[in-house]
């Protein structure tokens, strides 16, 4: 497993790009909403209130937040089972997300999808998909529809490093490139699949960037913990897609602080590896950068408190909501709202 330095990354994110003050704070708020919600979700697991499985993006927030701010409101997000952050990034409120995790009637999916399938069509969050690789092909379809209808919309598709070794990845990249689709593929390389390091099972060192030439694309490798660098990369890829120049494959180097999923303490990783990446925490380092560049601590504190309040209210409201009505089991298989297969 390469160290950040082996990868050409600085010990802490460089934050070399500039954005205006409002955007700088929005990025901070967005990452903080993700971090706090997922930590709360984890606490609720421990209390056995959140059931099933759940995959946290703790440590990976900068990628979702940067894209969330760079995307147009009508651009589409396609995410994986590790999709809480990507959902919040599209301004989906916390309460229905939390209620979905808790299996309540007020959940984003009325309790029918759970943690791995968060979707909010209203926010152009077109789904969280739990079969590795499939959604890259689906994102292409949305991009194709934008291209045909001339709407200038872009589809953005997030996935992990492990996904670069499944057939659907290659099918999707090739089709996107040949049809010049307005789609951005974002590989969040956290260097681990579930419990296996990506470099032990992959033919090239950079699983996405080193494959881009096969599809006639430029390699794009970004420090995924540097929210400003990510914002630049996102803006460039979105602009390229919107101007008709086709897809971009972005590889964002990052790290998940915890295990792969709820049940995994992540003990297979070396202590010094974890330490090196915790020192690159996207939120702590960014907060430090904001303070160092003259942002008033009080402004940041205000955001911290605001997010804490939003989260507490969302959690309480979600916990208070009733479980879904069992009638829902046989609803929404078909467009007519039902599940009937015979007369």
């Amino acid at each position: 497993m390469p160290t950040p330095t082996d990868l050409g990354l600085p010990e802490t994110p460089a934050f070399a790009s500039r954005v205006d003050d409002e955007l700088a704070l929005r990025l901070y708020r967005s990452m903080l909403r993700m971090r706090r919600l997922e930590k709360r979700a984890y606490d609720l697991f421990l209390q056995n209130l959140v059931k099933g499985t759940s995959h946290l993006a703790l440590g990976q927030e900068a990628i979702a937040a940067a894209f969330g701010e760079a995307m147009r409101a009508d651009d589409w997000t396609f995410a994986t089972y590790r999709g809480h952050a990507h959902t919040l990034a599209r301004s989906v409120p916390m309460e229905p997300v939390m209620a979905e995790l808790l299996g309540r009637s007020t959940g984003l999916l009325s309790g029918k999808g759970g943690s791995m399938h968060l979707t909010s069509v209203e926010h152009h969050m077109m789904g969280s998909y739990a079969i590795v690789g499939a959604h890259l092909t689906v994102a292409n379809g949305a991009a194709w529809s934008a291209q045909l209808r001339g709407t200038d919309q872009v589809a953005v598709c997030f996935f992990g490093d492990g996904t670069t070794n499944i057939g659907a990845f290659h099918e999707a990249l090739n089709l996107a490139a040949t049809w010049r689709l307005p789609v951005v593929f974002v590989c969040e390389n956290n260097f681990w699949m579930e419990y296996t390091p990506i470099d032990t099972v992959t033919a090239v060192p950079r699983p996405a960037a080193d494959r881009s030439a096969a599809y006639g694309l430029e390699p794009v490798f970004v420090d995924g913990n540097d929210v400003l660098a990510m914002y630049d990369a996102a803006s460039a890829a979105l602009a390229r897609a919107r101007s008709g120049d086709g897809p971009t494959l972005v590889e964002a180097a990052t790290y998940r602080h915890g295990g792969h999923s709820r049940a995994d303490p992540g003990k297979y990783r070396a202590e010094d590896e974890i330490r090196a990446w915790l020192a690159r925490d996207p939120i702590d380092t960014y907060r430090g950068h904001l303070v160092a560049t003259g942002v008033d601590e009080a402004r940041l504190k205000e955001i911290d408190d605001d997010v804490a309040r939003e989260l507490d209210e969302a959690t309480e409201a979600a916990k208070a909501a009733p479980p879904p009505d069992v009638d829902l089991v046989e609803r929404d298989v078909w467009a007519d709202g039902g599940a009937s297969w015979r007369n």
Partner: protein
């Protein structure tokens, strides 16, 4: 088939058509000749050999306002993109609490008759029928190819449209003008007192031929063309069984968990007292389909096998 697709491309701008070799070449079965010239490359598209990418593109396009028709050249190839069919397309409306609509059609050449061997000949309609969230249609006549296809394209849910490749050379009357049929409706093709033979797709002409022969032997058979497995017109089947008291299904799919098993179980549960003898399934045996004429013909239910089975059963 080309007429059916053209009718829908004409009827609705949101309809697009994609697949391998479907545009310039007009399809490996020449069933889409002329569509590219008439509708242009924006709406009629050749794709790479990427079945997952084809169906994923159809799905993403459907959820964002288009009404795609995707071709999977041979239904056996559904196995390489079954994730997109069974996990993505079929489940997404349900999992999202009804947020996502997927009005799309997957059309595919299904079943045997052309000596193509086991990887290009299987009848897999029962795979599709087993997945909640998919509608499953399989026409037996040229008229239904157009009419049921139109119904499939205009349906708000995903439909798998199985075209019996053994019937591609078949001929039949197709009236002029727009034809739009209805999913979930079986059709009684022949009315008889003594038994009900329920058949699908390529088995329908064989059931009709068998019924003619049986008539000569003094057995008067009703023939029902199921046409659509999901939704399933159980009413027509149950009514017919109530009238004849005997049920036979003729299925091209391999024996286990074929669609006829579902039909028989419904009849057993709901019309037991109407039956005057065992319900009998006539199917391809539980084998991959062999290639040589003699073997393939023996494996698939033939008119002669139907006649033989009905005659023996009715004594």
């Amino acid at each position: 088939m080309a007429r059916g697709i053209a009718q829908e491309l004409e009827h609705d701008d949101r309809v697009v058509f994609l697949g391998e070799d479907v545009a310039s070449a007009g399809g490996v079965f020449k069933s889409t000749v002329g569509l590219l010239d008439r509708f242009g490359p924006r709406r009629v598209r050749d794709t790479p050999i990427s079945e997952q990418a084809i169906l994923g593109a159809a799905m993403g396009a459907a959820m964002t306002g288009l009404r795609p028709i995707a071709e999977i050249m041979f239904s056996d190839f559904l196995a390489v993109c079954w994730d997109i069919v069974a996990n993505e397309i079929a489940k997404t409306r349900y999992m999202t609490g009804g947020q996502v609509s997927l009005p799309l059609v997957i059309r595919t050449a299904n079943g045997g008759g052309l000596r193509f061997g086991a990887q290009h000949s299987q009848a897999v309609e029962n795979w599709a029928m087993a997945v909640p969230g998919l509608k499953v249609v399989a026409p037996a006549t040229p008229r239904d190819v157009v009419g049921l296809f139109a119904a499939a394209v205009r349906d708000p849910d995903p439909v798998i449209f199985f075209e019996a490749k053994g019937l591609y050379p078949g001929k039949g009357e197709v009236p002029d003008g727009e034809i739009v049929d209805e999913l979930g409706t079986a059709r009684v093709l022949r009315n008889g007192r003594d038994c009900t033979i329920v058949a699908l797709a390529a088995m329908v002409p064989r059931a009709l031929e068998a019924a003619e022969t049986l008539a000569g032997l003094g057995i008067d058979a009703t023939v029902v063309d199921v046409r659509s497995l999901v939704p399933l017109d159980t009413r027509t089947i149950l009514e017919s069984v109530a009238a004849t008291g005997r049920l036979f299904t003729v299925e091209e799919n391999p024996r286990l968990v074929g669609w006829g098993a579902e039909v028989v179980s419904i009849v057993a549960e709901e019309a037991w007292s109407e039956l005057s003898g065992p319900a009998v399934r006539i199917t391809t045996p539980h084998v991959p389909l062999p290639s040589a004429d003699a073997l393939e013909d023996h494996a698939r239910p033939s008119a002669a096998r139907i006649v033989e089975t009905v005659r023996k059963t009715l004594g």
